[in-house]
Amino acid sequence: MLKPLIKMEEMYKNRAQEIAQEKERGGKMVAYGCSYTPAEIIYASGAIPFRLLEGGEQEPCILGEEYTQNIYCPFVKSFVGFRIEGKNPFYQMPDMIWMTHGCDMKKNIPEVWYRFFNTPTYVINLPRTFYRDSSLQLFLGDLKQAGKKLERLTNITITDEALLHAISVYNETRRLLKRLYETRTAKNPPITGKDAINASQLSFMLDPEAYNRVLKELVEELEEMVKAGKGVYEDNPLRIMLSGSICAHGDTKLIDLIEQDRTKAIVTDDFCTGARNFHDLVVEDGSPLEAIARRYLTRVPCSRMRPNTKRFDFVKEMIKKFRVEGLIYYTLKFCFNYRTDAVRMREEIKKEGVYVLHVESDYSGADIGQLSTRVAAFFEILEESR
């Protein structure tokens, strides 16, 4: 494994202790669950922004059913379940939870934290008609309110200078992650899909400036590998794109299945924890708060936006750029937004001459056999069509 990747893992392992120490010194941790949450504002307030992003484990899902239901998205159940389980320190530490009403299932989870776990929360008013100017003003107004709440929490006034600094840090993250992903356009990518997605997920959890330093090292190393023609896969791997519901940190069941023998390469994705995380920059022009609002609202949309046509265009763009041969559309069970898009995704991407496999799963290991069969059959089709 590359040294910067090992370093990132160590930073992640030490992160809980780091945050605990910061809290002892009076620092505050503001956790969030949705990529539409402007972390820049949290950062500018002096608080520690942290996206609660864990998934892939069955036990927290079961525990989370106490406040949700069995026919419920496993990620959302975990969001509550990890807190109940008590093993993951990040879920015990938030001084405040920010959430958007991103989807129906997520919508009331901040209230569970507020009423049952006594954690102050704020739900950001996130319009779905993201292309309208009135929606931008509504969102901006809400972020101003949210900012006031943060200022009361941290006793630090959020200044334009602080926001501009936060923007530059997070834009740097986005630029670096974009460069990282671009190394995967190589014939034999220098980093696995698993490691690339993991690196992107860690951007939500580690200290942004420290993370950027290590990320830069990683990117430079990867770019050198590309120049030298070095890759981590077998020769001429099948080029696969992943799309679909949130890919949580730790939800690697499908990813491991695809890349297990290194003859298939996950070359890109459109996850909110992956490529959609960094595709759009904050345009540093005019009021920084408005620039942040504009970036978050009008970026490549999540399936919850109405309509989310721009997401399909983005997927097509990625298919061309990364020379994708097959798309695996992965939805979590009971994720209705992404699930409902499955037929449309297949129809739209078929027009690009690319096959689509739709798989639906959760955080249990019970369906690994079925998934394996379906994925293997899909790869056979792709191999034959080469």
Partner: protein, 448 residues
């Protein structure tokens, strides 16, 4: 002691001649027990089930058809103000039309072919089936509430748009616990402001946008006078319904839950016929007043008094089941229960926005819903609450667990959480058992 009992028959048993043909394909509606002696009730049913006929007539008159879903604010009143449109609210129509949607032609399951998951909200699947099959005429415009209204509903409309249906997305702002609004910091609870000036301005602007779209579609300007006329219809209907609800405090309860729920729900869109709907509910009000005078009722005086809450409701049978178990539903929360009068003097779009933002509790956190449940339970002296939602609703399960805890804490009354399924798929035996046990438990509490 009940002086006289109002006998409620199933719709099928006492089918008025004008409904016979219309109800042929609606077995679930025919099974419901209503007071079929109420002319107002018959008229409401007639308005609902004759929608295909009304839609055809509207088309022949050159009017355009609008199907709306998840819009309980100003969009429908604005559309009803224009002579150019015939407006239906899909979910409520679906509630009446399950027989067709789930019958031989199975319009309901067709949505699965287009990506809608089997376990998804039944209403959304019904909505899709209605549109694809033009159940009440081919729609010229779909109006989908989105924003903080349900994902599932607007998602299905997005797919319909992709399939070629013209769609307008009506943004609904998120309702936050008023204590979280900056304007309320330091205020006492009686003076809580439920929305910020920015949200109000936003809502007015959105209604203006929608009005402009309709004017462009039709070439007919929607004037303030036209809007005020529609507002007056809404206020007439709301006044009559509020009076009926007030009269339901009489012991014994003079009007059943199905009838009450029907008029409250359909009040949202005046069933596409503002004058007809108002006349029907006013007739019903007068008829209920006579029942009260005669000291008659549909259920025993000592029936357990319940607040009914949750959202959405698919199968009206549950109301018959609750009453059969010995309870009467007096407090209501959930669904379109906007009954506050709309200001008739102010700028109409502003009046509609203030009314919607100020009253309608869902589409946000549970604080508003909890507040309504508590106030209705106190007003009607309720002894318990039944929260009911349909399987597949993605946001309600979490709301239910919160509501149960908070209402039990605030009022000391038990709250039963129930999930039900579609008419026909509904495990009514299980639900009945749970309701009966709950009612028995509440009755036993009276003795302690």
């Amino acid at each position: 002691m009940t002086k006289g009992k109002v006998i409620r028959k199933t719709v099928a048993e006492s089918l008025p001649p004008q409904l016979a043909g219309l109800l042929e394909e609606l077995p679930y509606l025919k099974k419901l027990r209503l007071n079929m002696d109420l002319k107002g009730c018959i008229k409401i049913l007639e308005l609902g089930v004759s929608s295909p006929v009304s839609a055809r007539k509207a088309r022949e008159e050159g009017r355009k058809i609008i199907y709306a879903a998840m819009t309980v604010g100003g969009e429908i009143p604005i559309a009803l103000s224009s002579p150019a449109f015939y407006v239906l609210y899909l979910e409520w129509q679906a509630n009446l039309y399950w027989g067709v949607l789930k019958g031989e032609r199975d319009f309901y399951s067709q949505s699965e072919r287009y990506g809608v998951a089997r376990e998804m909200c039944a209403w959304t699947k019904a909505n899709m089936g209605s549109v694809i099959n033009a159940l009440w005429g081919r729609p010229d415009l779909l109006v989908a509430g989105c924003g903080s209204s349900c994902d599932d509903a607007s998602k299905v409309f997005e797919i319909l748009e992709w399939m070629g249906h013209k769609t307008y997305y009506a943004e609904v702002p998120y309702r936050r616990n008023p204590l979280f609004n900056e304007v309320n910091i330091g205020q006492d609870s009686a003076k809580l402001v439920l929305y910020t000036p920015e949200i109000l301005e936003f809502q007015v602007q959105e209604y203006g946008r929608f009005k402009a779209l309709l004017e462009e579609e039709s070439g007919i300007k929607i004037t303030d006078d036209m809007l005020r006329q529609t507002i007056r219809y809404y206020n007439r209907a709301r006044k009559a319904i509020s009076e009926i609800i007030e009269m339901r405090k009489a012991r014994p309860t003079p009007l059943g839950a199905v009838e009450t729920f029907l008029i409250q729900g359909c009040c949202n869109y005046l069933m596409g016929d503002p004058a007809g709907f108002c006349e029907a509910v006013e007739t019903m009000r007068d008829e209920v007043a006579e029942i009260v005078e005669r000291r008659e009722g549909v259920i025993d005086e000592d029936a357990v008094r319940i607040t009914f809450c949750g959202n959405p409701y698919l199968d009206f049978q549950i109301f018959n089941q609750i009453e059969d178990a010995g309870a009467t539903i007096l407090g209501w929360e959930g669904g379109p229960v906007l009954l506050t009068p709309i200001d008739e003097e102010k700028d109409p779009l502003l009046a509609l926005a203030e009314n919607f933002l100020g009253d309608y509790p869902p589409f946000g956190d549970t604080e508003g819903m909890i507040r309504h449940i508590i106030s209705k339970s106190k007003e009607f002296d309720c002894e318990g609450a039944i929260w009911n939602v349909q399987l597949g609703c993605s946001h309600s399960p979490v709301e239910g667990s919160i509501i149960q805890k908070e209402v039990e804490k605030a009022l000391g009354i038990p709250v039963l959480l129930t999930f039900t399924d579609l008419p026909g798929d509904h495990p009514s035996g299980q639900v009945t058992t749970r309701i009966e046990a709950f009612v028995e438990m509440v009755k036993n509490r009276r003795m302690s």
